[in-house]
Symmetry: C2
Subunit: 305 residues, 2 copies
């Protein structure tokens, strides 16, 4: 570098001593505190399930954009009382809990279905159409060409195949099936309680996400049978009922809001996780895995009276 070039570079260098230092990027907590009411959306009661256990309520947001037939069928089963009195039949450590009919494998003893279907064609993936919201993560993912968030749900997509799908992150809810791809339908549902089993992506129909009460499921005592199935009826946690939130009187609902994933606020929130700014952190990752992005939920603001 010549002397003049050096002088010029010093004169016009960014961050010269007379300038203020660039503002420190916000932390996750700071992004969330600065979010406005337009950054949140109410969870639609018509697409919300309340799973009632002795320990309390588990709230599930359904994803009709990805699994319309399964969502429809599960709501139909719910409205017919199909799940009431059934139980959690499986709790496998670092994997899933699963509920359904303990006698589901016995054609003589299994609970009859009054409304709805026992099995459905699979909805492992859906068409990647222009109307599908998708906020892409900037980082590499080993399980999908592109990953991100679609209306609050973690998802993958493949522009070459023209398909999109929900991803198996913690708290995601899916429809158990046997070996045949069309052997599920929503009579048995599982929830991810461990490290994201992303190898299940595109292999099972995911249809929703637990937005409140995960700790009631993740702490269910593990089953000692193969794949975490309970071996004795007494070990199973009974399901008091499952209801569609819209079917309950307003006073009995749990109104929730989830942070929108299609906003500048959400992009800042992701960045606050890619590079942690909290004082505790020593090394920053420069990366965040799809299932490590928190999806904030809060009680809905009460309407003005």
């Amino acid at each position: 570098m010549t002397r003049w070039a050096l002088v010029l570079s010093l004169l016009f260098a960014p961050g010269a001593a007379t300038q203020a230092p660039p503002p420190k990027p916000p932390t996750f907590a700071e992004v969330l505190a600065a979010a406005g009411s337009a950054d949140w959306r109410a969870v639609d009661p018509e697409n919300t399930l309340y799973l009632e256990l002795a320990s309390g309520r588990v709230v599930i947001e359904l994803a009709p954009a990805f699994a319309p037939r399964h969502v429809d069928n599960v709501k139909t089963l719910v409205r017919g009382g199909y799940f009431d009195g059934l139980a959690f039949i499986r709790s496998q450590d670092n994997y899933v809990v699963q509920w359904g009919d303990p006698d589901g494998g016995d054609a003589q003893k299994q609970r009859p279905i009054r409304n709805g279907q026992r099995t459905l064609p699979e909805e492992f993936t859906r068409a990647l159409t222009p109307d599908l919201p998708f906020t892409r993560l900037p980082d590499v993912d080993g399980y999908a060409p592109e990953v991100g968030f679609s209306s609050g749900f973690p998802a993958g997509r493949n522009p070459k195949s023209g398909r999109a799908w929900l991803a198996h992150c913690y708290g995601m809810v899916g429809a158990g099936r046997d070996n045949a791809v069309d052997s599920g339908g929503g009579t048995e549902l599982y929830v991810v309680i461990g490290n994201a089993p992303r190898h299940l992506d595109r292999n099972v129909t995911l249809l929703g996400r637990v937005v409140q009460g995960m700790e009631r499921l993740s702490t269910l005592s593990r089953g000692t049978g193969a794949m975490g199935f309970y071996t004795k009826a007494a070990e199973r946690t009974p399901i008091r009922s499952i209801r569609v939130a819209a079917d309950l009187p307003v006073a009995e609902r749990t109104p929730l809001e989830v942070l929108r994933t299609d906003t500048p606020t959400f992009e800042k929130l992701v960045e606050s996780r890619r590079n942690r700014r909290e004082e505790w952190f020593h090394a920053t990752a420069g990366h965040v895995e799809l299932c490590n992005v928190p999806l904030p939920v809060r009680p809905a603001a009460m309407p003005a009276r």
Copy 2:
């Protein structure tokens, strides 16, 4: 392609109809069933901790290759009875459980340390030396330039910086710290119970892995305070004792073997997870994330009598 080239290519084409189809790659269960005794190694009792709870024993394998000073210190604390009668003070859903001294923040009331240190210099990473065993995963990872397994522990490494470190997978055990990097030492230890919090890599000293009894920790009821801390003493799960396995009579030990991670068998096992061959699977991932590779453990074969 000319006619002759076409004829030649057909004549010498692999996979002609007269050849047998290539053998189907083995599943995880098939790889494991075919493993010989040389594929397993005994867990060293001198590097094994038994954490005794009312619900039973949790077995931890220590990693002195990555955190020699912390492992030494924790063993010294254990041998001085430091942990006996302390408790789990934190259980945060989808994150960690943590044990230590409930009065650890109170200089007047905290338990005195007879043997060992309260704090130590950090061991977030170690030198990447040629003698460090490392079986590299073939796949991309967002949190480290290279990932794989070192003597049974999930790890990352960076050839440019010349450093290696343990990775925050499910069941990994680390030394809690305050903001100062040298404020930990092993008096408070945490265990990962949720989706791998890999952003903690290179930020905390990891020193071991739970090899048996994870379900006793992952189901601890969640704390309702900030970050999952329990707000009442009665909520805490007491620690009856922690012992170094080598200090117990042989009859009171839980002899375990872990699958070696530096063998052709382990490479086959990884491949069986990169592309699942079980009949149930419809789509294969062609990828496995570091923390999704199972690390098999079995009761040790009894010596011949």
